[in-house]
């Protein structure tokens, strides 16, 4: 997977961008459930999000409690810092 060579910042940024696109499409599709262009766009970005999430969480920890990384190394990694509001340079 090409994502394995990408940096933490690039992967996280992709999660944020794709995540935001999916949230916006979600709102739109709620009132336009038959819009084929919007459905295809959602599917495309969901696949992109899943690939980035798999690469990011494997190396940098869980984003949701359902990620495999949450229990990696026989420890509850969900609580490990930094939390998103603890910024040094940028968000998370």
């Amino acid at each position: 997977m090409a994502e394995n060579n990408e940096s933490k910042e690039v992967l996280l940024h992709r999660l944020q961008v794709c995540g935001f696109i999916l949230v916006e499409l979600n709102e739109y599709l709620d009132s336009h459930p038959e819009d084929q262009d919007a459905l295809r766009c959602f599917e495309k970005h969901r696949a992109m999000y899943e690939d980035a999430s798999e690469a990011y969480t494997k190396r940098y920890g869980p984003v949701t409690i359902l990620d495999h990384a949450a229990t990696q190394g026989n420890r509850w990694r969900w609580i490990d810092g930094p939390w998103p509001w603890e910024t040094e340079k940028e968000g998370m």
Binding site: L12, H13, L15, Q16, G19, F20, V23, N26, E27, D30, S31, P33, G61, P62, V63, T64, I65, L66, W78, W83, P84, W85, T87, K89, E90, G91, M92
Partner: protein
């Protein structure tokens, strides 16, 4: 029901943290015009919604009302 994602929705760089400013902004979360009130209203109103589209809109917008809280604490 709800899932918390451990990332900010949009990347932010806070050059100079300002707790006093943050306190003012956070105070806007409550009260009649705040996000908390809006979230609670939408999430309650969806139970009386007449169709699936409306239930979806109220659920999802109600959920999104909690996002600004994360940015206020980051400041």
């Amino acid at each position: 029901m709800w899932v918390y994602q451990k990332k900010l929705q949009y990347p932010v760089k806070v050059a100079r943290p300002n707790p006093a400013l943050a306190r003012v902004i956070i105070s806007q979360f409550g009260g009649p015009d705040g996000e908390m009130g809006a979230a609670t209203r939408y999430l309650s109103q969806r139970f009386a919604a007449p169709n699936d589209e409306t239930k979806g809109v109220l659920t999802d917008i109600g959920t999104e009302e909690f996002v600004p809280r994360c940015y206020k604490t980051t400041i």
